[in-house]
């Protein structure tokens, strides 16, 4: 009974916190809606997003809520199914970047010395590179499958996470509880994985949420350049396909773009909200 009560309190504390910070609340609501849409895509979709209909470039109506595209596909259903693609790309790419950034930053900050200098230099180089063009060349050369796109976005977007984790590790390694871990004979690697990373991970989570936004935008840009995975429906591709019909059928690109904006926005808001939870002092002044 006691434990249950305690749990309820913690839960209440979190929901209060979420309600307190507007960004987090709006972002979380948007995200939940998106998740529901992507999980129950077949329920929401009115047509098969891949089937080519007879009515081409039809304006929004009661049969086709958001009209049809140049091949007669239902834009509304395509957008619904596109949620899955965008969320998957964003989340997987961000996870890759989160893992790489946490490990590299943690190692650099915790061990220091030569490893730190080397990793910081690698970090600086990545920070200054026009990574989008690298992504573009890799996708053009190796093919534009979903996995390639997720991998390359993840592999090029870990710099911010690494910087954050490095700073965290540098400040944490001086703390007493880490000294305590040393004194009971814990190995360095174990300290890094068991104490440093779990205690310093929170800002990385906030930042990784923002990386989801970046990854979704990058995928949209790739699709716009004709480098999207042709086997799946994605928002970027809907916009890309609608470009030819821009003057005659504005609905194709417009609605897909609005959905991208809302999705990216929801992750930005959550990331920013998490940052506020993290450092209320800094943001109270704002």
């Amino acid at each position: 009974m006691e434990i249950k009560n305690n749990n309820q309190n913690i839960f209440k504390k979190y929901t209060n916190k979420i309600n307190e910070i507007k960004q987090l609340k709006v972002g979380a609501i948007l995200l939940i809606l998106l998740l529901i849409v992507s999980i129950f895509a077949p329920v929401f979709a009115t047509h098969d997003p891949y089937s080519l209909g007879d009515e081409m470039v039809a304006a929004p109506s009661s049969t086709h809520y958001l009209g049809t595209d140049g091949l007669g596909r239902d834009v509304f259903s395509m957008i619904i199914y596109g949620t899955r693609t965008s969320l998957m790309i964003g989340i997987v790419a961000a996870l890759i970047s989160g893992v790489i950034g946490t490990l590299l930053g943690g190692i650099a900050g915790f061990f220091g010395g030569k490893i730190d200098r080397l990793l910081t230099e690698v970090n600086n180089i990545f920070l200054m590179m026009p990574t989008f063009f690298l992504i573009l060349i890799v996708v053009a050369l190796f093919g534009s499958s979903l996995i390639n796109v997720m991998l390359i976005i993840g592999l090029t977007s870990w710099v911010g996470n690494a910087r954050l984790m490095r700073a965290q590790a540098m400040s944490l390694r001086e703390r007493t509880f880490i000294m305590g871990a040393y004194s009971i004979g814990e190995k360095k690697w174990k300290i890094l994985l068991k104490h440093i990373i779990p205690n310093g991970i929170f800002p990385i989570i906030a930042n990784t949420t923002m990386i989801i936004s970046g990854a979704i935008l990058t995928e949209a840009s790739l699709s716009f350049l004709g480098l999207g995975d042709p086997n799946v429906v994605s928002w970027g591709q809907i916009i890309y396909n609608g470009r030819e019909y821009m003057t005659s059928a504005w609905w194709i690109s417009t609605f897909a773009g609005i959905v991208v904006v809302l999705t990216v926005l929801s992750f930005y808001l959550i990331g920013d909200g998490l940052n506020r939870v993290l450092s209320p002092k800094l943001h109270d002044q704002n």
């Binding site: 063009f133 936004s213 935008l217 840009s221 716009f224 004709g226 470009r243 904006v261 926005l265 808001l269």
Partner: protein, 322 residues
């Protein structure tokens, strides 16, 4: 100061080197052999194959190949475009002007507008305008650049008909003199506005938080206690200290902006590097694509070094540290 410039230049050179190395590795690792990638054909003629083998020393070991590759690049040879058969360096040189024009115009406008708005809002935190602009900065951050560009074309070009939809000059009008430049400005308005709107949030946010941070420093409180006027404190002491981060961000933003410029060029058929990048992608013109990537990497590295050196000139803390 001297050692600072040397240190930064070293990083810059390293970046260029890494970009070249990545380019080289990609050709090596890509599916298919380097010849088919460099020639753009699955089965190039024996003469062509021989010529490429000779040029890049493809019969040698990978290490020697890399050196040969470096040597060709050092001579300004970026290879030949598969599409046109012309040297890539020549093609890029022709196109770099309009790209630079668009990039610099938007960078300067975004820097000015973003900084001014940031300062304005930082002095009135929590005001209606501050909330509105903060919200807008999120919104613009979340927009795919090409989509915003398309919406502008839809609204201002095809519905209202105020601005042209594409290109840099009206080819039929054949303007000369001032009319020619006005025509360019007229064509540049939509792409430049799109890019500026998308880049303002960076500068807005960094300036705003920087000003707010400096305003909360102890020395400002002390100045207030002496009874100094708020406007004087701000103009004389806060502004100088808070403007510095903006300059650093300017360098990094240029790197992101170049991506944006390339895509916006495609949307508005602006005759710069970006719009023929699209061609290079769709026809898989790898030498051209890689040439563009290298040139961009070098430009970004150079810009960052220049900005950093400038920063060190302004802020003595940077130049004397370490």
């Amino acid at each position: 100061m001297g050692s600072f410039i040397i240190r930064r230049s070293f990083t810059g050179i390293l970046i260029i080197f890494v970009a070249i190395f990545l380019n080289f590795m990609l050709i090596q690792l890509a599916p298919g052999d380097p010849i088919s990638i460099l020639s753009g054909q699955d089965s190039p003629s024996p003469e062509m194959e021989e010529a490429l083998r000779e040029k890049y020393g493809l019969n040698d070991s990978v290490g020697v190949q890399f050196l040969t590759y470096l040597r060709t690049l050092a001579g300004g040879d970026l290879g030949e475009s598969i599409l046109s058969g012309r040297p890539v360096s020549e093609m890029i040189a022709e196109r770099i002007g309009p790209t630079l024009m668009l990039t610099l115009t938007t960078a300067i406008f975004a820097l000015l507008i973003g900084t001014i708005l940031g300062i304005y809002c930082a002095r009135r935190p929590g005001s209606k305008l501050d909330n509105l602009l903060s919200g807008l900065s999120y919104l613009f951050d979340s927009m795919p650049s090409f989509w915003l560009g398309m919406m502008f074309i839809l609204l201002f070009a095809s519905w209202l008909g105020i601005f042209p939809t594409s290109g840099m000059i009206d080819l039929r009008a054949n303007h000369s003199g001032i009319a020619y430049y006005i025509d360019i400005l007229h064509h540049m308005f939509l792409p430049a506005t799109t890019l500026t709107l998308l880049s303002i949030p960076y500068f807005f946010r960094i300036t705003r938080s920087s000003v707010i941070q400096v305003m909360s420093e102890d020395f400002v409180t002390t100045l207030r206690a002496t009874g100094m006027k708020e406007s004087r404190i701000f103009n004389k002491y806060v502004l100088k200290n808070s403007i510095l981060p903006t300059i650093t961000v300017f360098g990094i933003t240029i790197a992101y902006m170049i991506t944006g410029v390339a895509i916006i060029e495609i949307v508005f058929s602006w005759p710069g590097m970006g719009s023929f990048m699209l061609n290079a992608i769709s026809r898989r013109d790898y030498p051209l694509l890689m040439g563009i990537y290298l040139v961009l990497s070098i430009s970004v590295a150079v810009t960052m070094i220049v900005v950093d050196v400038l920063y060190a000139f302004i802020d003595p803390r940077i130049r004397y540290s370490k």
